[in-house]
């Protein structure tokens, strides 16, 4: 019993000492996250108010034009080409590409623009034929871009985008495949400064290209899970 009471006593001591010590440490205000909004305090209550938050100059109008550059690594993918008179599909090699972006803000959050891109190293991981594999090809996608950005908090937004366009896949020594392409995706948009922004996103890109061999049309298409690392400037 005595031990128990001693323990209770020591526990109280510890709690009391801790509480007392904390009392002596003026709690530093938490980081600016909890800082109150800026308010102009009137040092002369009776005098007319000469400054207030409402007199802060109005924010400049939103910048409507956006120009950017993207790096497009695509790790997952499928390639279909005609081999021996049959369209054969296989896993795609890792491809990488670059994209441009130019868009115009129509209304708050909604943008219309273009996003052409070029993708290299278009080929099978393992060529599905005993004959020698052709060299890797290059895909050029001329895409339009429709995007909507949902602002989450200041400087951060989430966007969704649709990228319809026309695509060409060219391989050395063979005819180019052409056709419709559609990309869908989304990501995070971060304002680095008032003008500069950065994005990280992902999506899926589906091609409907085909090629004509001896008058017969064959599928010659690609499908990729796309990643998008980008940045740009607003005007």
């Amino acid at each position: 019993m005595r031990k128990a009471s001693t323990l209770i006593g020591l526990t109280l001591v510890a709690l009391g000492a801790g509480a007392r010590a904390e009392d002596q440490v003026p709690a530093t205000p938490p980081p600016t996250a909890a800082a109150p909004a800026a308010v102009a305090v009137d040092p002369f209550p009776g005098a007319p108010v000469v400054a207030s938050v409402s007199e802060v100059p109005p924010a400049p109008p939103p910048r409507r034009i956006k120009v950017g550059l993207s790096f497009l690594p695509m790790g997952f993918g499928r390639v279909t080409t005609p081999i021996g008179g049959t369209a054969v599909t296989g896993d795609a090699l890792f491809t990488y590409g670059f994209g441009l972006l130019a868009s115009f803000r129509v209304i708050a959050g909604l943008e219309l623009g273009i996003a052409p891109q070029i993708v290299y190293n278009v080929n099978y991981k393992t060529y599905p034929s005993v004959i020698a594999a052709p060299p890797a090809g290059k895909e050029t996608d001329l895409m339009a871009r429709v995007a909507y950005t949902f602002p989450v908090v200041e400087t951060i937004g989430l966007y969704l985008e649709a990228l319809p366009g026309y695509s060409t896949i060219s391989q050395p020594g063979s005819s180019s495949a052409k056709g419709f392409v559609l990309g869908l995706g989304g990501g995070i948009l971060m304002d680095v400064t008032d003008r500069i922004f950065a994005t990280i996103g992902g999506g899926y890109q589906l091609g409907f290209q085909s090629v004509s061999v001896s008058g017969t049309s064959f599928d010659d298409r690609t499908k990729y899970v796309r990643a998008n690392l980008g940045g740009g400037v607003r005007f």
Partner: protein
């Protein structure tokens, strides 16, 4: 019943007396928890660390000369660099006037130059500084038990996709894993400071989420740091125990330790000797395993110049190990240069065991920080391993040259309220051994590419939430057959990490 009541009364009385005493003592101490500004006062950024204000539990010290502190006399430090004389007799030694249990505040991590973008990967690196920094205050001896730590929880998915002529390896590598793993450690740092001298110890007690791993497994250690050091603040110190050497390679916001993307596209079938992994002056950087430990001398000649001369001694695995790893850091804040060399030798334990493995390496890094929005860096290192087996015969497959180079970049919105960072990075590694057993001049040749994309948001400036997507590819050219067989492996991974630093 009466006895019980008396005991309770005694307990409450004891509590009341001690409580009153502790309050009086704490009040008399005069709010000792806030370090006064010193010449080496941390820049404003140091006070902006995510740690909340320090909380100090003052333990009352009864001024009893008979049990005076064994602390050396303060006068011992009157001459810089002098060796302190033996402690004075106990009855004359000044008592330790302040004892505290303290959650280490931001001021314990001063940064004479910026460490990196706030909340970013460089910012979470200590760049060779003497941390935790707990100097004596206002000329008074000080003993503080610092408490800090961190924990992380990863939920991850990884898929391997091999192809090529690897046969069994390709078949074995057709796997996918889904895991959740985590570690949390409590860091206890007792520190005795007087004048500008200090004696400091540190132990990191680790809890692991995965209860099936062994202590010797990656991430399975139940103790990370365990060291003692003595020295003068901002001048020099000597450290001994289990700890990490200074970082040279910086990998950015991905490739964290104990993760799939750190391992890269090296599946269960890729058990080539040696198993390829990145080399960044890393033979002796991480904490030694087994009955081995480090000794290090740290020297700070200028605020922007730091040196570490690290040595390793003991036994790792099957035999003795001895190593050295001197590293230097030039840190101007916006520009950081890091470089070093290392040498390690492992030998056999038994007299008849002729095992002799010698590894050497050199590496460096350059890092740029442009606050508050962007930081990036480049790394490069190369090393060799020469291996003699237990019979005294050269192990050609175990003798190789490894080369790694890569870089990273982080971008931040610079927001205090809603800090968001993007990070990217990549790293290429090549191993070329001397195993031309099947055809002269054709040796094993492996390479490994590791890359990632990361997004991190810090909730309430405390809880780090990071999503990392990784891609890795490896290529194996096996010279044990003629013609040499080759195959490739790919790894896709995604990982969500929650971490909390306290």
């Amino acid at each position: 019943m009466k006895t019980n009541a008396r005991c309770a009364q005694t307990g409450l009385l004891t509590a009341f007396i001690l409580l009153t005493g502790s309050i009086a003592r704490a009040a008399g101490a005069g709010a000792p928890t806030e370090a006064p500004p010193t010449e080496a006062a941390p820049p404003p950024a140091a006070t902006e660390t995510p740690s909340p204000p320090s909380t100090v539990l003052i333990v009352p010290v009864q001024p009893n000369p008979a049990v005076a502190s064994p602390a050396p006399a303060r006068e011992a430090t009157a001459v810089v660099g002098s060796i302190p004389p033996p402690p004075e007799p106990a009855v004359e030694a000044p008592p330790v006037t302040e004892i505290g249990v303290q959650r280490l505040p931001g001021s314990a991590y001063p940064e004479p130059q910026t460490r990196g973008l706030k909340y970013g990967s460089l910012w979470l690196t200590f760049h060779g500084l003497q941390w935790p920094y707990l100097p004596a205050k206002a000329g008074r001896d000080r003993f503080v038990i610092g408490l800090s730590g961190w924990g992380w929880l990863d939920t991850a998915y990884v898929k391997f996709a091999p192809w090529g002529q690897g046969g069994a390896a390709v078949n074995s590598d057709q796997v996918a894993y889904s895991t959740q793993q985590g570690r949390m450690l409590l860091r206890v740092t007792p520190t005795y400071s007087f004048a500008d001298w200090f004696v400091q110890g540190q132990v990191e007690l680790v809890g692991t989420e995965n209860q099936t791993i062994q202590r010797s497994d990656v991430g399975g250690a139940d103790t990370d740091d365990l060291w003692l050091r003595v020295g003068q603040w901002n001048k020099w110190d000597f450290q001994v125990g289990r700890f990490e050497g200074w970082e040279v390679f910086h990998l950015g916001m991905g490739l964290d330790q104990n993760t799939f993307e750190r391992q890269g596209a090296v599946g269960p079938g890729d058990n080539t000797p040696p198993v390829i992994s990145f080399y960044g002056l890393t033979d002796n950087e991480f904490r030694p395993s087994g009955a081995a430990g480090n000794l290090a001398l740290h020297y700070y000649p200028l605020p922007f110049l730091r040196f570490e001369a690290l040595g390793t001694v003991g036994s790792e695995g099957s035999g003795p190990v001895v190593a050295t790893r001197p590293v230097g850091i030039i840190d101007f804040g916006w520009l950081k240069l890091k470089g070093g060399v290392e040498w390690q030798r492992k030998t056999g334990q038994a007299a008849s065991d002729q095992t002799d493995i010698t590894s050497k390496g050199v590496g460096g890094a350059i890092q740029f920080v442009f606050e508050p929005h962007i930081e990036f860096g480049l790394n490069a290192a190369q090393g060799t391993v020469v291996s003699i087996d237990n019979k005294g015969i050269k192990n050609a497959a175990g003798s190789y040259t490894r080369t790694s180079f890569g870089g990273f970049a982080n971008v931040s919105n610079g927001s205090e309220r809603h800090p968001l960072l993007f990070g990217v990075g990549g790293l290429f590694t090549r191993y070329v051994d001397q195993n031309d057993i099947a055809f002269p001049g054709v040796v094993d040749n492996y390479w490994l590419w590791q890359s990632f994309v990361a997004v991190q948001y810090v909730v309430f400036q405390q809880l780090y939430v990071k999503l990392v997507g990784g891609y890795s590819r490896s290529h194996f050219l096996l010279a044990s057959t003629h013609p040499a067989a080759s195959y490739d492996d790919e790894e896709y991974s995604v990982r969500l990490r929650f971490s909390f630093y306290f």
